[in-house]
């Protein structure tokens, strides 16, 4: 039997117990209830970046959507898209980020940088980022972030439709 195309990954990276840090987790939980194209894998990576990197490196994903929260000085409570990967920082910084990752830090940037450095990112990468409002203790998203979950789900569904299946 001929093997199918390499799968597409939709992965949330974040900590659901730190309010807006859990944005991506809320998104993929809602996304999982939608009808998805074939060969799309949805994952909630709520753990240290090394484990996430190992999962990413262990599968030949063709494309990936990463969704999470990242504070980059934009207007809080807004949703942003970017085509990855991000430009790599210095090797010293990447090494420092490996250390943070080993010690369990849950970080979208760390995953992207380490995966990019080792050539383990899929060819096409879409980043969907919330500029967080509140990253303190709690399971609920902040009031500005909560309605953006549905928009993020729609954005991902659109991206999956527009990306050619073959």
């Amino acid at each position: 039997m001929a093997a199918g195309p390499d799968p597409t990954l939709v992965a949330a990276v974040g900590n659901r117990w730190l309010k807006d840090q859990g944005f991506g987790i809320h998104v993929v939980e809602q996304l999982s209830r939608e009808s998805l194209p074939p060969a799309v894998e949805v994952a909630a990576w709520e753990f240290g970046t090394v484990a996430a990197f190992q999962l990413l490196a262990g599968r030949p994903y063709r494309r990936a959507v990463f969704v999470g929260a990242a504070a980059r000085g934009r207007t809080p409570g807004t949703l942003h898209q970017a085509l990855g990967p991000l430009p790599l920082p210095s090797e010293a910084e990447i090494h420092g980020r490996v250390g943070d990752s080993v010690m369990g830090l849950v970080s979208l940037d760390n995953l992207l940088f380490i995966s990019h450095y080792y050539g383990r990112l899929p060819q096409q990468v879409l980043l969907l980022e919330l500029e967080p409002v509140d990253e303190t203790w709690g399971c609920d998203l902040s009031a500005p972030a909560a309605p953006l979950v549905a928009r993020a789900v729609d954005t991902i569904l659109n991206a999956l439709e527009q990306w050619p299946q073959a």
Binding site: G58, G99, S101, V102, G104, Y118
Partner: protein, 611 residues
């Protein structure tokens, strides 16, 4: 006598009694001579945050560059942990899941220790298969956790990239030094070995990403997912285990074996190279031989989780509990260890508490007002002041002594008092002998870890590497035990339980970094009090009420400066970093927060006061 400072005595039957005069009669512990007063010219050297230590730990040292030694050191955990506060008034069964989040690395250890505290408090005893599954998952965690520490965190301090910069003369020597275990790890010279540890590009560094996945897969095979398993329950685990589960875990362990052999061999060669090159390396990170171990790997025939039989089941642990003070074994009784633990906050950002609500343990032994069952977590943020309060970490002590936790404590206790692990691991009283069998890539490897003469950086790292091999055997044997239990018809992995209106319990276990304890009071079917002391709480503790430094601080103070530098601006501080990293600092464990960007800031300031 077990206690030298606490006013608790034991009669001929081993029953503990509070001495006349009560807790006020406690003796002040011996205190080391204070360091000389700071002198002009000392270089305050700040690493904030400590490189490759996630979380928020600042390590402040005063380095006497003229005399090439570290004059003083302070460890400051900069973030509030707070899980004790979060857990208060919740359903006790939530504790396993919530406390798991106390650490992003060893969350499963917290879940497991929490489930043991509930075993005791409810009470409920796990069936044999549940005990074996816990043992396998927890052993496998060490297989990746120690490897990550040795090859990605501590290893780069001994890499070509570091040594060629900080100790050029040593680097020249490394290029001609032949490795004694080159037949195992494949590196001809020590320089080759150091290249393999180069950050990002070293062969062993890169390989470690892939190999450690195998350890995580063993854990996931046993408990579903990691590092935050949802399957821990009071009285066992909640996973369907079949023969294939254990066979898969076994196969993964065998796949990992060749890598583990090489890591052990690498650290044997690194240790001997540094020790022989310059005796000052033997003083790096050296501190008194004061060690604490809670014990690990429960015995299916004796573990019931009860306090009444605490010493029976703890004494049968694969790695027995114990306390060593000044190199002498003080006790192997887990009950005595529990009675001797106190937690002080005099130099921490917490208020004192005044209540003494649990004056005795469940068997009637006297408990200090500073014991975790009596402690209240009362955060009180304030500015950092070295003479007063400077950290969010507390100062746990045993018999008011400063004790260190970690794999070297486990090895020590196994060597001293452990029973043989079938025909595989043999404690001799002075060492641990074991042979790793031939695998698909390499022949058998005979190993022996000797109780060292000194407790220092090199020996901590060596002990951690050897602990990998010892742990490999434990995982294999527990997998075989699981298969035997299935053949005998055992199927249950957990025992039913009832939630009582009141209860008291504690979980005593070993995380990768050392002794981990959870103490729990149930009141009105909710958590009345929950206290966690992590190994990093022991190791990263600040000064205690008697002014004695915590283990990180002790290890750094008087560490010789071997680093070669032409001017102060070139000074990197590698000696200090090696000393601190040898403990495998886990600030997510100690403070349970992260700093974010992970940007390393290093300040070398010319001010001489050290404030």
């Amino acid at each position: 006598m077990c206690f030298h400072n606490l006013p608790v005595t034991f009669d001929a039957d081993g029953t503990p009694t509070l001495a006349s005069g009560g807790w006020d009669a406690a003796q002040p512990p011996r205190t080391p001579p204070p360091p000389p007063a700071p002198r002009p010219g000392l270089t305050p050297f700040t690493v904030a945050p400590v490189t490759r230590v996630a979380g928020a730990m600042d390590f402040y040292t005063e380095v006497d560059l003229a005399n090439r030694t570290v004059h003083d050191a302070r460890t400051s955990a900069a973030a509030f942990r707070g899980y004790e506060v979060v857990l208060r008034n919740r359903d006790p069964r939530e504790a396993m899941d919530i406390s798991s989040r106390a650490c992003g690395v060893c969350g499963g250890v917290h879940s497991t220790t929490s489930s043991m505290a509930l075993d005791m408090a409810l009470p409920v005893s796990p069936p044999p298969l549940g005990i074996v599954a816990r043992n396998i998952a927890q052993g496998a965690e060490f297989l990746y956790d120690h490897a990550l520490q040795l090859c990605l965190l501590a290893g780069p301090d001994f890499s070509e990239a570091m040594v060629s910069r900080t100790e050029p003369s040593l680097w020249r020597r490394a290029q001609t030094e032949t490795c004694r275990h080159g037949d195992v790890h494949g590196y001809a010279t020590v320089a080759d070995l150091m290249r393999a540890l180069n950050p990002l590009s070293g062969a062993l560094y890169v390989e470690t990403f892939a190999q450690t996945r195998l350890g995580m897969e063993i854990v996931a095979t046993m408990v579903g997912n990691y590092p935050h398993p949802k399957t821990m329950v009071p009285g066992g685990i909640n996973v369907l285990l079949e023969p294939g589960s254990f066979r898969r875990a076994l196969a993964l362990a065998w796949d990992l074996l060749d890598y583990l052999k090489r890591v052990i061999a690498v650290y044997e060669d690194l240790t001997s190279f540094f020790a022989e090159a310059n005796p000052d390396y033997l003083r790096n990170g050296e501190r008194p031989i004061n060690l604490l171990c809670f014990g690990r790997y429960d015995d299916v025939d004796t573990y019931d989780g009860s306090y009444a039989r605490l010493d029976d089941w703890a004494g049968r642990r694969g790695i027995p509990p114990g306390v060593i003070i000044d190199g002498e074994l003080r006790t192997t009784s887990l009950r005595a260890i529990n009675l001797g633990i106190e937690e002080f906050v005099d130099h921490s950002f917490y208020e004192h508490w005044s209540s003494h609500t649990v004056p005795s343990d469940p068997a009637g032994g006297p408990l200090s007002p500073f014991h975790p069952w009596n402690k209240e977590t009362k955060p009180k943020p304030s500015g950092r002041n070295w003479k007063e309060r400077y950290t969010w970490s507390t100062a746990p002590r045993w018999d008011r002594e400063v004790v260190e936790a970690g794999p070297i404590a486990r090895n020590w206790m196994l060597a001293l008092r452990g029973r043989p692990w079938a025909d595989a691991v043999h404690p001799t009283g002075r060492s641990i002998e074991y042979t790793l069998p031939a695998d698909a890539r390499r022949g058998e490897m005979r190993c022996e870890w000797h109780i060292p003469q000194r407790l220092n950086t090199l020996e901590r790292n060596r002990a951690r590497a050897q602990h990998l091999g010892i742990t490999w055997w434990r995982v294999v044997q527990e997998c075989e035990a699981g298969l035997t239990l299935l053949r005998q018809g055992h199927r249950r992995v957990w025992s039913p339980h009832q939630l009582p209106d009141r209860g008291i319990g504690a979980g005593f276990w070993e995380a990768a970094r050392g002794a981990l304890g959870h103490w729990l009071l149930i009141e009105g079917r909710n958590i009345g009090n929950y206290q966690i002391i992590t190994p990093s709480s022991f190791n990263a503790s600040p000064r205690d009420p008697w002014g004695r430094p915590g283990p990180y601080e002790e290890a750094a103070i008087r560490t010789p400066i071997t680093e070669e530098f032409r001017s102060e601006s070139e000074f990197v501080g590698v000696d200090v970093m090696r000393a601190v990293r040898s403990f495998d600092p886990c600030m997510p464990c100690a403070v349970h927060m992260h700093t974010g960007g992970g940007v390393v800031t290093r300040e070398v300031v010319s001010c001489g006061c050290g404030a």
